[in-house]
Assembly symmetry: C2
Homo-oligomer: 309 residues x 2
Amino acid sequence: MNKLLIVGTVAFDAIETPFGKTDKILGGAGTYIGLAASNFDVKSAIVSVVGEDFPQEYLDLLTDRNIDISGIEVVKGGKTFFWSGKYHNDLNSRDTLDTQLNVLADFKPVVPTDFKDADVVMLGNLHPLVQSSVLDQMEVKPKLVVLDTMNFWMDCALPELMDIIKRVDVITINDEEARQLSGEYSLVNAAAKIHAMGPKFVVIKKGEHGALAFEGENVFFAPALPLKEVFDPTGAGDTFAGGLSGFIAQSENASFENLKNAIIYGSNLASFCVEKFGTERMLNLSDAEVNARLQQFKSLTQFDIELNK
Amino acid sequence: MNKLLIVGTVAFDAIETPFGKTDKILGGAGTYIGLAASNFDVKSAIVSVVGEDFPQEYLDLLTDRNIDISGIEVVKGGKTFFWSGKYHNDLNSRDTLDTQLNVLADFKPVVPTDFKDADVVMLGNLHPLVQSSVLDQMEVKPKLVVLDTMNFWMDCALPELMDIIKRVDVITINDEEARQLSGEYSLVNAAAKIHAMGPKFVVIKKGEHGALAFEGENVFFAPALPLKEVFDPTGAGDTFAGGLSGFIAQSENASFENLKNAIIYGSNLASFCVEKFGTERMLNLSDAEVNARLQQFKSLTQFDIELNK
């Protein structure tokens, strides 16, 4: 079975949306990526850090899904990373109410020995130096490295970000971040400039407007599934990345044609993620539901046009 | 050959974009719809009104493309409808600088006798009473009636708008307008409410984010082609509607499956429209270019995923 190594936060979130609010619940990019990837036949591990306050039951939720947590350091006397945010009425934007780095401030990732030859490495959104440190520890060159990042690192750690971008095969980034990183408004031009920074594949996430994937002149577009109700967008981008990297790890095929499938799979899983608060929906998701929704993605996008003349 | 009846403005536009500005040039919804529809093997006619100031060469451009202009009234001593607008840097929003209704203020559409049995009627964005008057003149029930409208009529003529919406098969409307008309934020819920107002098919235009089509529970999504550069968005929505209605008129098939193809065709033509100022690109467009871009739409959206387990 192929191995997928994930680095990302395992954390507490407190979320407020127009539909309600939560206390501290399980969150973090590493968590969402891991849960998404657990839908595939891959051997996955999360590298992360939590405090002594982190409930054993949350760790058990991960091990129950065959996710190796030996790379999740538990800091004695430490407190777990905490993020709190409030979404606006349109759910497309949010205010951060509180960020407590806690144990994340001094996080030194340690890759489990058994995953130093992972086939796919998924670098969740974290400081670029943490992402680089994970790659540095690999003993076998991974078949595919996927990087997620955000505007915060462009503002605060651009040189380090550019260093890690050089080393990855796939970058996932949202539309505004792609514009910021490239200085180009057109996403076609932005992708071309980001290609030149290193990544062979550039995946631009547009939230409810779907995702674009570029490989040079080749372009693919995956819509977001139109939903009656989006309940909580938290973790959708990480779930997308987890579905994408999990699918590629399972299928052992890192071609652009297969990336298209991976993106549809990521979009599919993300469409479930937003249906409930936090990780709730991802923790209660059946293969039958996923497969039924894949059919919806097919009928949503497939057509059979004939040339006109 | 099937007949397509178009009602819409034939007008002057003056456009300013970040890339330059134009003097008074040929514009109007009817013009763009007609030019788009002229890419199909259909017999089409435009019902509209212009002033005596309207150049014969502009009318000739339409007749050269086999568009029947006997329904375009030329008002002696009258001045043609004029719109002037300036696009913002992102090209997604614009300010109207000037609107001179002129002859449009008293427009009484007259459907040419030969088109009172048109197979498809495309009601371009105009006062709902003008749109209704065109339908009232039909002697044979059209196989398909397509309505385009905008927020302006929701604000100023809502009862009349609701009356015409009841009578059409397809409504094309942008996302913000769909939300305004339905009072629903989710486009899925908005489409359901608009269905209940009458139209069997609801097409929601999202500009650079593509278009959604609904028929009850069935949904289809067509992306906009990602472009290096959008030069002038004027007329893109009308070109989309013209491509859609022209394709259906030609293919004599008003099923949802064929509407999908029609929407791809409309998106395809719209992707050319925005490449130059005004109608310039639509007036210089070859079948080979259109067909090549249809292939791009296929590779942009088609995938061949297998179910996971």
